[in-house]
């Protein structure tokens, strides 16, 4: 079994149906440490993808590219741009293929992480969405079953969030809240958590 454009389409449709549940939660988590638009950003991103999902080509790389472009247009907040950057990295890695073995997921996450680091000019360990992402890349290494991949990612996110909760934010708008951010989840991490929560159902 492998990741195809059909897998992607199903995931996007699931996200579109489910992410609304977390709209207020994400806005208000971002409101405590930033500008309160993170729920809006995810909704806009999934609406942007909605416009293209029916027409995504068989070429998985092209499908990723089209979704990256859609997110760029629809959601220009930091998280939206990071998402688009990650999708673009996937596009590059899967260009010209209609099937991507599940065993490559961990490696894809490495590419995503590298692209986001470059775009965000930051590294892991700063209490951002990069940290659960890095943990997922590690935790999924060597796995090639979608359910096992999902379970490993799920655990990795929980552990990372627990580990970072009491540290101060060091990047993005949350940085200026300094000590106030200790004890609060990074909004971007929470957003990642919720995306996986929707996808795993």
């Amino acid at each position: 079994m492998a990741l195809t454009t059909a897998t992607l389409k199903a995931a996007y449709r699931k996200l579109e149906g489910g992410i609304g549940t977390y709209f207020d939660e994400l806005n208000s988590a971002d409101g405590k440490l930033g500008d309160g638009d993170l729920g809006i950003t995810l909704t806009r991103a999934s609406r942007g993808i909605h416009e293209v999902v029916d027409d995504l080509p068989e070429d998985v790389g092209q499908a990723f590219l089209k979704s990256a472009q859609a997110v760029t247009k629809a959601a220009s907040s930091s998280f939206g741009t990071l998402m688009a950057t990650g999708l673009m990295a996937c596009a590059k890695a899967t260009r010209g293929r209609t099937e991507v073995p599940w065993s490559e997921v961990s490696g894809l996450l490495d590419q995503v992480l590298a692209a986001m680091k470059a775009r965000g000019k930051t590294d892991v360990g700063m209490k951002t969405v990069l940290d659960p992402l890095a943990a997922c890349a590690e935790a999924t290494r060597g796995l090639d079953d979608p359910a096992a991949l999902m379970a490993a990612a799920d655990r990795a996110i929980t552990e990372t969030m627990d580990a970072f909760r009491d540290k101060p934010a060091q990047v993005g708008r949350a940085r200026i809240f300094g000590e106030k951010s200790q004890g609060l989840d990074d909004p971007g991490m929470l957003a990642f958590r919720r995306i996986v929560d929707v996808l795993k159902t």
């Binding site: 500008d35 220009s76 741009t81 990071l82 688009a84 990047v171 940085r175």
Partner: protein
């Protein structure tokens, strides 16, 4: 606070339509409608200067498109970054063949998007450079200066870089001068009331009837302290203390100073504050050049004020005084 609008979701588009209708000799819409360019852009052979950012700060950013200022500007929703495509369009329309300087405020989303936009137009052989404004002393200590938010210092950077480009300097020179202008500005503000982002429909934060927040950012980002309202002279004194501690002045220095309303605060109150600004600069032995008092960088109808000190050398002073004009500001 009440707002005059039709649909919150058309606020920015309606605004841009009116802006270009009122000043067709100044502004025109480009790209997908969220780019405003000089009516005569691109100016062949001239270095282009673009900026961009969220709406709701007029005259910043859009308003400062004009001769001797910006060539184009990408405009997001209120307080939200424009998209990468819009920024790329702004760069394209500003490009007169001599390259384009991206000159804007240090906000994470804007930076990522402008970088991405730069990557896009690079493929089209447009050379670009970047200068970020990071002038808000309340947002990080001087040791971490590159993390500071960009606020009203942009007014000086736009004016000075715009004059350098208008004078025919090349991209490297315009970028050097813009960077020097950005490095010469320190700003700090105080907010008295919030404002309402149309799509949110309610005030961005709440604050007591007798309270103010010192050091707050222009989107309501947290400041240094929140407490009881102070007198005008106390507020001015504290802002000047912070600015002069961050960028000390010595006798003989030449500076310009911007006493800026965040929106609702009327010019009457800016002039009350200006007395102290002048006293403190006089006491430091600094000469004031072309002081600016008014609404230059706002947060819609927020009540509050910011001070910016721009330390000048001969080059910066010449650029500051050079002619420029847009619908909101005319020099010379």
């Amino acid at each position: 606070m009440k707002k005059i609008l039709n649909d919150p979701f058309s606020y920015v588009d309606d605004m841009l339509a009116g802006l270009c209708a009122a000043h067709p000799d100044m502004y025109r819409v480009a790209g997908d409608g969220r780019v405003v360019a000089r009516a005569d852009a691109p100016v062949a052979g001239k270095v282009g200067i673009v900026s961009g950012g969220g709406s709701g700060h007029l005259p910043i950013f859009t308003g400062y498109v004009g001769k001797g200022l910006l060539d184009a500007c990408a405009i997001g929703d209120v307080f939200a970054s424009p998209s990468v495509d819009q920024m790329a369009d702004a760069i394209r329309v500003a490009n007169g063949g001599a390259g384009v300087l991206r000159l804007y405020g240090n906000y994470g989303g804007d930076v990522m998007n402008f970088d991405m936009a730069g990557d896009m137009v690079e493929m089209e052989d447009i050379a670009t450079t970047t200068v970020l404004l990071a002038d808000d002393v309340a947002s990080a200590p001087r040791a971490e200066r590159e993390k500071r938010r960009g606020v009203a210092g942009m007014v000086y950077a736009f004016k000075i870089a715009g004059a350098a480009a208008e004078a025919g300097k090349d991209l490297e020179e315009v970028t050097r001068i813009a960077q020097k202008a950005a490095d010469s500005c320190v700003s700090m503000g105080a907010a008295l009331t919030p404002c309402t982002v149309p799509q949110a429909g309610k005030p961005t934060f709440t604050i007591g009837e007798d309270e103010m927040e010192m050091g707050m950012g222009i989107h309501g980002e947290p400041g240094v302290w929140r407490g009881k309202m102070r007198t005008a002279d106390e507020i001015a004194g504290e802002l000047m203390d912070n600015l002069l501690a961050d960028q000390p002045l010595v006798a003989g220095d030449r500076v310009s100073v911007l006493v800026n309303s965040l929106g609702a605060t009327p010019p009457e109150e800016l002039y009350i504050l200006y007395r102290i600004v002048q006293q403190r600069l006089d006491a430091a032995g600094a000469a004031i050049v072309m002081p600016l008092v008014g609404r230059y960088a706002t947060s819609m109808e927020m009540a509050g004020v910011s001070f910016t000190i721009c330390k000048l050398d001969d080059e910066l002073e010449g650029c500051l005084k050079a002619p420029a004009s847009c619908a909101f500001w005319q020099v010379g």
